[in-house]
Symmetry: C2
Subunit: 191 residues, 2 copies
């Protein structure tokens, strides 16, 4: 029996995305964004409003990185979500994280996070109901420790965080339940 | 040391969203979509292209539901992703799932899934790089079994699936690592 809960942001799980940008002085900023998702095979859409330092940086640098926060760095990842680059001049510095410039785009890569998408800004999207940016994923980098023997990213080794907006918790990933295109194959037979 | 992996849809985790719609004859269709995310406090954005039966249904019914697929129904959820409503007339029927009409919007609620967002179609978004729809979340319904004592959705009881596009696996959620606004509080002190 289902119960009415009213209006809420009930997508679960959400990723814990670390958006890395340079400001007009080449200063590193990182923000924590859950409202981002792939929107095409080589593109990512981020719902970020104009008030953010990151948004201003998009206009200047025309590029950004999107890293996946992992278990080992949950405190830093959470801090990047609660501190403001507009109010805290040393927001990034006080984390002790190390940033290097991407060799693919004009944006910083935060070394502590295990996987990063290097993105070129394609478009600012502003419609009646959507505000955000689209980035073209020109390359993905990941720590060798997050890869399996075949060189593919292994979610179990990645230790990326899952976010929930019901209780505002960060979660680890659990066991693999099934493989896609395999679990539902039985129902396909008659097609 | 990070390794270059090329272009890939590296957002992780992705949700396993079950998009429920009625076609022009009031027939139920459900599709599995990973490329969806909250885009505002009461809105969801889905990147779905025009080729899908679901997209045609959006135009007719002007509403949809978005349910979270859970562990117990991984086979059905996967099937909704591999079968096509355009090619398989009895796509929904052959799953044995039960659908009831939402009391809030003109879209079906699939009883088997533990949580559902009832959405009114707000806008078709078509820009240079984005194609999809925005829905207004008018209500969320969840099974009592997915709620904690205080009546909030409990991710550990929800058993919602996480999807990965690295290995195309469905995963269960693991333990809670930390609470948001708490994990990073130490770094805020000096602000």
């Amino acid at each position: 029996m289902k119960k009415d809960l009213g209006v809420m942001t009930a997508v679960f799980p959400m990723p814990v995305l670390m958006i890395g940008t340079y400001d007009e002085n080449g200063k590193v900023d990182v923000m924590n964004a859950a409202w981002g998702q792939i929107c095409d095979e080589d593109k990512i859409f981020l719902s970020i409003d104009e008030g953010h330092k990151t948004y201003a940086n998009f206009k200047v640098s025309k590029a950004f990185t999107v890293a996946l926060a992992d278990k080992a760095h949950v405190a830093v990842a959470d801090y990047f979500g609660i501190a403001s680059g507009n109010r805290t001049a040393d927001k990034f510095e006080r984390t002790g994280c190390r940033a290097v410039k991407s060799d693919k785009v004009n944006a910083p890569i935060i070394e502590e996070f295990p996987l990063v998408m290097e993105c070129e800004l394609l478009e600012f999207v502003k419609t009646d109901h959507v505000s955000g940016v689209v980035g073209k994923i020109v390359n993905v980098k990941a720590e060798e420790s997050a890869l399996d023997e075949s060189g593919k990213v292994d979610p179990k080794k990645l230790n990326a965080l899952c976010f929930d907006t019901f209780q505002h918790g960060y979660y680890a990933i659990g066991e693999q339940v099934a493989k896609a295109w395999n679990a539902g194959a039985g129902l396909m037979k008659k097609e």
